[in-house]
């Protein structure tokens, strides 16, 4: 073998191993993050973490029941406002639509999807908080809903498009009209995919902090109804992690573990059981 050939083979092996190393580093980051959170947050997780209000500063103990409930309420609002709009809009793109409108909607959805979450927060502040003159669960829910819409819409469209057009034609041939065809044939056929998209979109906004900072704000206590400021897990993690108290830091780790556990659990369950291994586009 010539020296040049040996050199080329050496370069080949070296570079290929380097790409493998890159992949290893990237993938191990997840396990590292998960392990580090388990190590730091696991020991401070207890039953009272899930059932009690935060203790006054300086007192040990206490929990984050209000933040957990706040996050669930915000997610409920996001789903309530965001999912119907996204779903119906997706049906429009896949089943109806003219020439200009679908292009416009698709383009805008992608644009809205790329808007930084803090800017969405400013918008929700302008639309809800400035009008009501106070922070509220509602404002936070609106902010999260705006982030849910484009994802659900694009995802619904792409799964509806995967339904074979022969099914539509068969349904027409049996005498169904269009909405009946959509409601009884196309939507059920794409239901798993659509549900996947909805759950992933909700998992994504569950961890959002920035749009909640000046919409849902925060609250040391329970937040009755929908018009009061509310605590939420991501915001509490931020406040506690940047705060001065040792006890807050430990609580932040525990809350981080709960949040990450929630988000990863939804992701893994949904991707493993619902999506049937199709890697849908995240763009």
């Amino acid at each position: 073998m010539s020296a040049r050939m040996i050199w080329r083979k050496a370069v080949n092996v070296t570079m290929l191993s380097l790409t493998g190393l890159c992949a290893l580093i990237t993938v191990s980051a997840l396990f590292f993050i998960l392990g580090y959170l388990l190590w730091n947050g696991g020991k401070d997780l207890s039953w009272s973490f899930f059932t009690r209000l935060p203790a006054p500063v300086g007192e040990l103990g206490g929990g984050m029941a209000n933040a957990i409930l706040g996050t669930l309420k915000l997610l409920l609002l996001a789903a309530l406002f965001g999912v119907p709009i996204g779903l119906l809009g997706g049906v429009y793109l896949a089943e109806f639509g003219g020439r200009i409108m679908p292009f416009l909607v698709r383009y805008t959805a992608d644009l809205l999807n790329g808007v930084p979450s803090i800017v969405i927060g400013i918008f929700a502040y302008a639309m809800v908080v400035m009008r009501m003159h106070h922070f509220s669960t509602l404002a936070g829910g609106v902010a999260l809903a705006i982030m849910v819409i484009p994802t659900v819409l694009r995802n619904t469209e792409s799964f509806l498009r995967d339904v074979p057009s022969a099914w539509r034609e068969g349904s027409f041939a049996l005498g169904a009209n269009k909405w009946r065809m959509i409601a009884t044939v196309v939507l059920p056929a794409a239901a798993r995919g659509i549900l996947t998209g909805v759950l992933l979109a909700l998992a994504r906004v569950a961890g959002e902090t920035a749009p909640l900072l000046f919409t849902a704000f925060g609250n040391r206590y329970w937040s009755p109804g929908w018009m009061q400021p509310t605590s939420s897990l991501p915001v509490v993690i931020y406040t506690y992690a940047t705060g001065p108290y040792e006890d807050w830091h430990r609580q932040a780790w525990a809350a981080g573990l709960v949040l990450l556990g929630l988000v990863l659990a939804i992701n893994i369950l949904v991707r493993a059981f619902l999506s049937r291994g199709t890697a849908h586009e995240r763009l």
């Binding site: 993050i33 049906v91 429009y92 803090i118 800017v119 918008f123 009209n177």
Partner: protein
């Protein structure tokens, strides 16, 4: 419906087959209308978003004009507002993040697309997708309590010793600052570079690889000199996409950048970014001018990411469309 020509049918014939057919068609029209309204709501939200940002930043725009973008002072007490330190911090942290994340992400994508067996490739992609799902406040948490101490005691002194002759790596090691924020951002955007790059690499036709191998190229030569150049534009697209993410990223950066509106040559210096100043000061802004200046910062950030996202999508579309145009399926 009264003004359509067919509506001339008398009311007593409402149950005739023809009227039934029309009613069914009307149901279709209602369905069309309802879904159209949903789609239009999305347009409305986006238009309102731009409108609100524009209107609410009016006071600051009129007061400072274009000089807002190049003014270094940010003094809420004196009513002096300039965006330069924040724009600078946003761009510098994103540049650091790209410098670290692009080689790592593209390298990993090459491994997943070209080398790894399909099963391994898809499970590693799964893990990378999960990494993309980790909330940014979690990265911030790890940044504050893990990365900042390590930076202060180990990495920054080591960089100073070896590369200290460069102005980039001078000054006291605080732990927080541009470099730390850039590293956290890099970890956050690697999954985006990886997944998009992998997709565009996979879109390169198989014949091209085989042709290169048949000519006697090694695996690496066929990858680096044939496949990667063919996917070049799409890889650029993934980089722009990741850059847009990095620019708008808020929490993780806010927690480790130091929150000090300063322009410095050293990456060790504490700084500030647009998103971070919004997160810190928005809910406490007193006075209309202060709020309006913050909203103008939001507008700047919106425009930056808008342009980058548009560019990214165009580039990715060009490559994947070209690739799939050649593929049989």
């Amino acid at each position: 419906m009264a003004n359509t020509p067919n509506a001339a049918a008398p009311a007593e014939l409402a149950w005739s087959p023809r009227a039934l057919l029309r009613r069914m068609r009307d149901a279709d029209e209602i369905a069309h209308l309802v879904t159209l309204i949903a789609a239009a709501t999305l347009l409305l939200i986006t238009v309102l978003l731009v409108y609100q940002l524009w209107i609410l930043s009016a006071e600051s725009r009129h007061r400072f004009g274009w000089s807002f973008l190049v003014t270094r002072t940010w003094d809420p007490v004196a009513g002096e507002f300039g965006a330069l330190p924040f724009v600078f911090g946003t761009l510098v942290t994103s540049a650091v993040a790209l410098a670290l994340a692009v080689p790592l992400g593209v390298g990993a994508a090459i491994f997943l697309a070209e080398l790894a067996p399909p099963k391994l490739s898809s499970s590693l992609t799964f893990v990378s997708d999960l990494l993309a799902a980790v909330p940014s406040v979690i990265y911030g948490l790890l940044g504050v309590f893990l990365l900042v101490p390590v930076m202060r005691t180990t990495i920054q002194p080591a960089l100073k010793k070896t590369l200290g002759f460069l102005p980039l790596f001078q000054g006291p090691a605080y732990g927080i600052g541009f470099l730390t924020a850039g590293i956290v951002l890099a970890v956050m955007i690697v999954p985006f570079v990886l997944s998009v790059s992998r997709e565009v690499l996979l879109a390169v036709p198989r014949d091209q690889r085989e042709a290169a191998l048949a000519l006697g190229a090694t695996k690496w030569e066929s990858t680096w000199k044939v496949v990667v150049p063919a996917a070049r534009i799409g890889i650029f697209g993934s980089v722009f996409l990741a850059l847009a993410r990095a620019l708008g990223e808020t929490m993780a950066v806010t927690m480790v950048i130091g929150n000090n509106p300063k322009i410095a040559a050293s990456l060790f210096s504490p700084g500030y970014s647009i998103a971070a100043v919004l997160a810190n000061e928005f809910s406490e802004a007193t006075g209309n001018l202060y709020l309006s200046a913050l909203i103008e910062l939001g507008l700047v950030l919106f425009l930056l990411t808008f342009v980058l996202n548009g560019l990214a999508r165009l580039l990715i579309l060009v490559t994947t469309a070209r690739g799939s145009g050649v593929l049989p399926s």
